[in-house]
């Protein structure tokens, strides 16, 4: 590495003086429609001097006086012309199509027409219109068949994507490859992305082996150019983010449980009033005499983390803080609604996202260095991240035959207060607090001071002063700490470093043979910690986790390319050796901290809990590829790969898999001015797969020592050690059409059979194990993908480009193991299960349903007024029926506007937010009138079968008793919303359909005439952008959940509110 830099530096110096007695010519290269032919090559005849055409169609080249230029571009007839400054060259298409060159597996550039499988590419400028910081979300809607999973907008996390549905029984992410090196998307400096190729089918990914089974996202970074030039690009962005969607809360009822009671005497006479206020009852045996004056004051059930309390009407009452000693002790305040309390908690986040790139180049070298920097503060207080990224790319020719190259990407970030999601019992997810277990009347401003003057913590969720007069007893939080305390003191930090890079050698043996060798590394280290501060609800503690990962790939490929008359041959043989090492150390205090807020492992009161993680594996591979072309019209390609994996049993550790694909450009046989290009393609591929390391044998888990006695238990997964590699067989057919050379249509249909899967299937625990590792199954996914791209309008002053994607995928379970009819994917509350059942769709939700009478169709109500229910009822499926997106770019004179919209139809998810926001009376929908026209939150009164309820409140569920009589029993509002609804999964399982305006940017390019005058910059564009702009439609919008950003597939456990980022962006090239 160091040598390489040294050589590069020396060569830079050498070339500086190599130009003399030359002139610079500048010209413009266009196609027959007048569109700049970006990337066309311009060479000086008889020398090695050359350049390529820039985005505006203009080239600059220094040549000898009177030189001849050769201008060429793939798919166009070569132009040989004298070099004249200010020349304009129009290129004529060689065949009927603009030849598109794309990046395929192993980074090999291919003419797209030759490909027999589907590959979709997104250019860098379309990816980052709103300066997205995340590869996956920048792909949303721009590639057919890509489904986004994860909640990136409001967190620091990257989203994940699923390509073409799920392969196998579990969701696996695609392989992310940056400049040929397998790594993680977090290694990507988004401003430096040239393009992203998504290899969707197995044929496309065959050369990546098992890791390409779920698709490959190939990211190519921008490179320097091999021409004498230096340039500097500046890309500055600033945005502000705010919470975009929160549940529709009710603001008419305060905290408490009164709507859970049948009458105001349910707690004994005098404890509740008609309105539902909890009343202070002076008790001389408990309270001091000075409290006698409090007798009869309105309070709340402060310990309730629900809002089934009194109607808010300006009454004077004792807020929780009036019970803490101090100036406000004993003071009554008016009860007022706080509709914006949750909104007020979240702040305006900021994101500074800047990068600067330096390019330098010469005839036989190029160099590019980019530094990027992000400084982001989230909407959750105290959450921030500082990130630095550095990318270096260099290419250098040693003599005429040898080229060395390198790509290096370094990322480091420091994070504090990363928000915690999911349903947690430790109280560290404040969003879960606000949307699931809260009191609606709480005033956030009042809560900001979470410590009392004496330093002790306070909380809104205190105990009951009716039964204690000691603030140390009743002032302790019941279930929730003050949220400001949680975010300020119970935070975690993360330090992350990642280095990804390669060193490459390319030897041009002759004009047909090429040898490429690469050493590639992907490595990272993390140090994460989490603190739980002293004095809160949870036992104080500290945990720290350190891990290191390193993957090395050594790859060599011998390539061959030739043409024999009408035939062309393109082939390679190669090999790869991969080693992966991972080690981790986890430590946590046990039994609390020895001193208050002493956050270290040394503070552990009991022996700290220590565990290690370890993974090591090696894979050796050999592969070959051969592609034959005939008349640039018919192509056939075959690949074959063999892997040897250390993760598999020694007797069965290698597996071979082939692919074959073909493409036929039938428009070569026609001449049509309308259908300018047409191609049919077909492919068959098979991909093998292994298992993670160290997972062949029975797992034995350590228990905690009992005194000096060690403790161990046999793991719950049965493993017999006798596992074969699994296989995916895929066929794909495709059609590509181009009309008027501007409108493109690409249709792909595919079918994958995932067989012999290495499954961890659930078995009855009575066997002694809850799951068993087996080879079995046939899981089929099939679908269709359509993408439409077009330069709809191409006028001089106005251009409109559109890209439309649509994909439909179905996953079905054809077969599991013999005798096995179902595999459990996930369990949720109330007997809700996500299962894969034979003959049904992948991921079907089963759960409870209210029981109905088969003849009358009415719900059967038991004597308590609650519905009867049945379990194991089919509710719906988790995967979407279809997905899609549209991406538009408009250019009018110097203005440009881009936006992308994506959508999903179908798919369900379990929502804990919806479950508890209704169950605890927080949601707006929990306010209403019953069928007597009376407020259902009022007391229903006692009930007898003959005369019904004595009160007017409560809710009656339409239905009949077991004896067929109409239900006449009103149950309390909470009994309905909390209890009855838990008996029907349709209340917790929600539709994930949505339409979303993901991002939008409006820009203005400063005219070059102006820039030339100022002589500062070559190009400049200023824009305003909105990221995660608008959830246009979703049935779950009112519940505060954005289904396009679920925290995991089919599940939301208390998700952070999605945010909208609005910002400005300035791009300057010097």
């Amino acid at each position: 590495m160091r040598k390489l830099v040294l050589i590069t530096t020396i060569m830079l110096a050498c070339w500086a003086s190599a130009y003399a007695q030359k002139v610079t010519v500048s010209g413009k290269v266009l196609d027959s429609l007048g569109v700049p032919l970006v990337g066309a090559s311009v060479r000086e005849k008889g020398t090695n001097a050359g350049t390529s055409v820039g985005t505006d169609g203009i080239f600059n080249l220094t040549v000898k006086q009177g030189a001849t230029l050769i201008i060429s571009s793939a798919g166009y007839q070569e132009v040989v012309t004298p070099a004249l400054d200010g020349m304009k060259v129009t290129m004529v298409a060689m065949s009927s199509n603009l030849e598109e060159v794309v990046v395929t597996a192993l980074g090999v550039k291919r003419e797209k027409r030759a490909l027999g499988f589907s590959l979709q590419e997104v250019k860098g400028e379309n990816l980052t219109i709103a300066k997205s910081v995340d590869v996956s979300s920048s792909l949303a809607g721009k590639v057919a068949g890509v489904q986004l999973v994860g909640s990136p907008s409001s967190t620091f996390d990257n989203a994940n994507i699923i390509i073409r549905g799920v392969q196998g029984l579990n969701v696996n992410n695609p392989l992310f490859v940056v400049d040929g090196t397998p790594t993680d998307q977090s290694a990507v400096l988004m401003d430096n992305v040239e393009n992203i190729s998504v290899l969707k089918g197995q044929a496309a990914a065959a050369l990546y082996g098992s890791r390409g089974q779920n698709g490959v996202v190939m990211i190519t970074t921008r490179k320097g150019q091999r021409k004498k030039m230096t340039s500097v690009e500046l890309n500055l962005g600033f945005s502000m983010e705010n919470v975009a969607i929160i549940p529709a809360y009710q603001d008419q009822y305060a905290g408490g449980y009164s709507s859970a009671y049948t009458s105001k005497n349910s707690l004994g006479a005098g404890y509740l009033d008609d309105q539902g206020y909890y009343i202070f009852n002076y008790d001389p045996s408990v309270h001091p005499a000075s409290w006698a004056t409090f007798q009869g004051q309105r309070m709340l059930e402060y310990g309730a983390d629900e809002s089934w309390g009194p109607k808010i009407g300006g009454e004077m009452y004792r807020p929780y803080y009036s019970w803490y000693p101090g100036a406000e002790f004993g003071v009554l305040s008016p009860m007022t609604a706080q509709p914006d309390n949750v909104k007020d908690f979240f702040r305006t986040g900021t994101n500074l996202n800047n990068s600067v790139a330096f390019n330098a180049g010469g005839q036989d070298f190029s160099f590019r260095m980019v530094y990027g920097n992000q400084n982001r503060e989230l909407t959750i207080p105290n959450a921030k991240r500082q990130q630095h990224q550095l990318n270096i790319n260099g290419v250098y020719d040693i003599g005429n035959f040898v080229t060395i190259s390198t790509d290096v990407a370094y990322t480091t970030h420091d994070t504090k207060g990363k928000p915690l999601e999911g349903y947690r019992l430790d109280g560290l997810n404040v969003t879960q607090n606000f949307s699931q277990w809260f009191q609606r009347q709480l005033d956030m401003k009042k809560m900001q001071e979470y410590r009392q003057p004496d330093g002790s913590l306070n909380s809104w969720n205190i105990g009951d002063p009716n039964f204690s007069s000691d603030p140390a007893v009743y002032g302790r939080p019941q279930y929730w700490d003050n949220p400001y305390f949680v975010v300020a003191e119970n935070f975690g930090t993360q330090k992350h470093n990642r280095l990804v890079g390669n060193v490459g050698l390319n030897i041009k043996l002759n004009s047909h043979w090429n040898l490429q060798s690469y050493a590639r590394m992907n490595s990272y280290s993390n140090e994460n910690d989490q603190r739980v501060a002293t004095g809160g609800l949870n036992q104080d503690g500290y945990s720290i986790n350190q891990n290191q990962y390193k993957e090395m790939n050594y790859e060599s490929n011998l390539m061959y390319k030739n043409k024999f008359g009408d035939f062309s041959v393109d082939g390679m043989v190669g090999g790869n050796h991969r080693t992966t090492n991972f080690s981790q150390l986890n430590m946590a205090t046990d039994g609390g901290l020895s001193s208050a807020n002493y956050f270290d492992i040394a503070a552990s009161v009991a022996r700290p809990l220590v565990s290690r993680g370890y993974q090591k594996s090696e894979v050796n591979s050999l592969y070959a590829k051969a592609s034959f072309g005939w008349k640039n019209m018919l192509f056939v390609e075959g690949t074959v790969r063999n892997d040897w994996s250390s993760n598999l049993p020694e007797s069965n550790n290698n597996y071979l898999y082939p692919s074959v694909s073909t493409s036929f450009i039938f428009t070569e046989l026609l001449t049509s001015s309308v259908l300018t290009f047409g191609k049919l393609r077909a492919s068959y591929a098979s991909v093998g797969s292994d298992i993670p390391p160290h997972s062949l044998d029975l797992l034995i888990n350590n228990g905690s020592f009992y005194g000096t006695n060690p403790s161990a238990t046999i793991g719950n997964s049965f493993r017999g050690g006798n596992i074969k590699p699994s296989l995916t067989n895929a066929i794909e057919l495709g059609l590509e059409l181009k009309f008027w050379r501007r409108i493109g249509l690409d249709v792909a249909v595919y079918k994958n059979n995932n067989i012999n899967q290495i499954l961890n299937v659930d078995v009855t625990p009575a066997s002694g194990f809850s799951s068993a590792q087996i080879n079995a199954g046939d899981i089929v996914n099939k679908g269709i993908e359509i993408s439409l791209t077009g330069a709809v309008i191409q006028k001089k002053n106005f251009q409109w480009d559109v890209m439309l994607n649509f994909a439909k995928n179905t996953n079905e379970i054809n077969e599991l193991a013999e005798g096995l009819t179902s595999v459990l994917y996930a369990t949720r509350r109330y007997d809700i299960r996500l299962e894969h059942r034979v003959g049904e769709e992948w991921g079907t939700f089963y759960g409870r349903k209210w029981r109905t009478d088969p003849t009358t169709g009415k719900t059967i109500i038991n004597a308590s007024g609650q519905p009867e229910y049945d379990i194991n009822q089919k509710i719906g499926t988790v995967l979407p029926e279809w997905t899609g997106g549209v991406f538009n770019t408009f250019k009018y004179k110097a203005f440009d506007l881009s936006f992308s919209i994506d959508w999903q139809k179908g798919g369900m998810f379990y929502s804990e937010t919806r479950n508890f926001s209704t169950g605890t009376g927080l949601a707006a929908e929990t306010v209403g009138l019953n069928d007597k026209g009376h407020d259902w939150r009022d007391y229903p009164g006692s009930y007898s079968a003959a005369t019904g309820n004595t009160g007017m409140g409560g809710i009656r569920i339409p239905g009949q008793f077991a004896d067929g009589k109409e239900n006449n029993r009103y149950i309390s509002a909470r009994a309905f919303w909390y209890t009855a609804r838990q008996r029907d999964a349709t209340y917790q399982l929600l539709d994930a359909s949505y339409v979303k305006l993901r991002e939008i940017r409006f820009g203005y390019s400063i005219p070059s005439s102006f820039l030339q005058k100022t002589k500062i910059a070559k190009a400049a564009n200023i824009g305003v952008m909105v990221q995660n702009a608008w959830l246009i439609w979703a049935t779950t919008k009112d519940y505060g959940i954005d289904p396009s950003e679920l925290e995991s597939l089919g599940y939301e456990g208390g998700q952070l509110s999605a945010t909208r980022q609005i910002g400005a962006n300035l791009r300057i090239t010097f």
């Binding site: 349910s266 036992q539 050796n620 009992y706 078995v763 066997s767 038991n862 838990q982």
Partner: protein
């Protein structure tokens, strides 16, 4: 440069290689489990799965109204229907089966951890204990074909009667298999290798099972009872069988301590059903059972209301006797054995009739007070003279079972077994019960058994009366 060339050369040479040595061996994983470590773990499981306060293990205390729920009433309103038995089978039962398998195959992991017969016998007794807990909760369960790993992923559900027969046999044989003269078991954190105590444990277990048959098969019950008694059961409080926790060890803390003190959860309080019974009789166990509030009294929380209430300072949580870090969990104790003997006399399992029943009944109450450290002769005399307590031949059975229920506080699953079999103590179902059929009579099978072991599951449900709910009557209830 040179390095790259070397690299290329070496990579090219690598491809013939399909040997990876010990790459796939992780240094952090155990490759074999010593039987002593398995025994320790299968005893530690008592804390979390069988007696502790995990979601499904605390149901017993709610069903027999030892405890009431505060802010989130649910289980005490009978809204839990299908409960998982996973932790039993995959946890201690399979670990114990492994001890037996290892010993039978002379696996090196069993060497040095006690004589083979002793290891097997101890594992059999403990297995019987867990199986009894299982069948008494769910009814018919996989037994004879269970714990066979990949040999049988669809074990049949055995009839409860057959399971009882099997367990009687296991316990009898295990006791006979114990060789006190040979090396005792290692890793035994309950009895520290005291083989006599293991015999007592087995016999007491057998005695309990024998009484359970008082309705379904009194003949067998009678003979097993006599045999168990003759073989030697607990005869003093010093022989009480309990699972102990370790003060200062957060890996071995009482689950109630974890619940109340570590996690600060205050979801449960002593039930007013229990305190209302005990307090008027000046029962000195009241301040042991319940937390003494600021007012100086123990206040029970009304049972079975769908009214969410906050507990701290308003109602008494369970007493510190039961929820300190080192508080033990009771399994079997002397008082309980005396109550069983009283009932056996009353039911005619043994000769002696009411006189014997009364004597054992009084001894049982005395042993209970002594166990809780509150025995006082004068108070005791007054207590047993209280007409509500004093034995009479008319309602002797009811009184025995009611006082036993008081004694069995937080050993509640066994009280639930007694209540289901005898109907005593007389309990009123939750007022706001979600299911009008009242207190559950069994637990529903795990919800996913229908997918995992369909045919056998369905056969078991049919045998149970066609419905997999909480009200099917298991064999010994009939």
């Amino acid at each position: 440069m040179k390095k790259i060339l070397i690299l290329f050369a070496s990579v090219s040479l690598l491809y013939s290689c399909d040997k990876f040595g010990d790459t796939n061996v992780s240094p952090t994983l155990l490759t074999v489990a010593s039987t002593k470590a398995l025994l320790t773990n299968s005893q530690q499981a008592m804390s979390s799965i069988s007696l502790g306060n995990n979601a499904s293990s605390r149901l017993g205390a709610l069903y027999v109204q030892h405890l009431s729920e505060g802010p989130y009433p649910g289980p005490s309103l009978y809204n839990d229907r299908n409960l998982s038995f996973l932790a039993f089978y995959t946890g201690p039962l399979y670990d114990l089966q492994t001890i037996i398998n290892y010993n039978n195959t002379d696996n090196p992991a069993s060497i040095g951890n006690g004589h083979k017969d002793n290891q097997i016998a101890v594992a059999r007794i403990l297995k019987a204990h867990y199986y009894l807990l299982l069948t008494d909760r769910w009814g018919d369960i996989p037994y004879s074909e269970a714990l066979k790993a990949n040999e049988n992923y669809r074990p049949k559900y055995d009839k409860q009667q057959d399971i009882y027969t099997g367990l009687f046999k296991e316990l009898t044989e295990a006791v006979a298999q114990i060789k006190e003269s040979e090396a005792t078991v290692v890793g035994d954190v309950m009895f520290n290798g005291n083989l006599a105590a293991w015999k007592r444990f087995a016999n007491t277990l057998r005695m309990t099972m024998a009484l359970r048959l008082s309705k379904a098969d009194p003949t067998k019950g009678k003979s097993e009872y006599a045999a168990a008694l003759a073989a030697g059961v607990i005869t003093s409080n010093s022989q009480n069988i309990e699972y102990k926790f370790v003060n200062g060890d957060f890996g071995n803390s009482n689950p109630w301590y974890n619940n109340y003190t570590v996690s600060n959860r205050n979801d449960y309080a002593i039930s007013s059903v229990l305190t209302d019974y005990m307090a008027p009789k000046a029962d000195p166990r009241v301040p042991i059972y319940g937390e003494v509030l600021a007012s100086g009294s123990v206040k029970g929380l009304p049972y079975g209301r769908n009214a969410a209430v906050n507990i701290p300072s308003a109602f008494s949580r369970i007493g510190s006797y039961f929820r300190s870090q080192g508080s033990a969990i009771p399994l079997f104790n002397y008082s309980q054995v005396l109550f069983m003997q009283a009932e056996a006399a009353k039911l005619g399992y043994v000769a002696g009739g009411d006189a014997d029943a009364e004597a054992k009944y009084k001894d049982a109450i005395k042993a209970s007070w002594q166990q809780y450290g509150v025995f006082d002769q004068a108070k005791y005399d007054a207590y047993i003279a209280n007409p509500a307590v004093a034995y009479s031949s008319v309602d002797g059975h009811k009184k025995i079972m009611t006082e036993k229920w008081v004694h069995m506080y937080l050993n509640s699953w066994e009280s639930w077994n007694d209540w289901r079999r005898t109907g005593f103590p007389v309990l009123t179902a939750a007022v706001d019960a979600i299911d009008a059929r009242g207190i559950p009579l069994r637990l529903g099978y795990p919800a996913n058994e229908v997918s995992l072991n369909k045919e056998n599951y369905e056969a078991a449900v049919t045998a149970m009366g066609g419905k997999d709910d909480n009200y099917g009557k298991m064999w010994w209830l009939k």
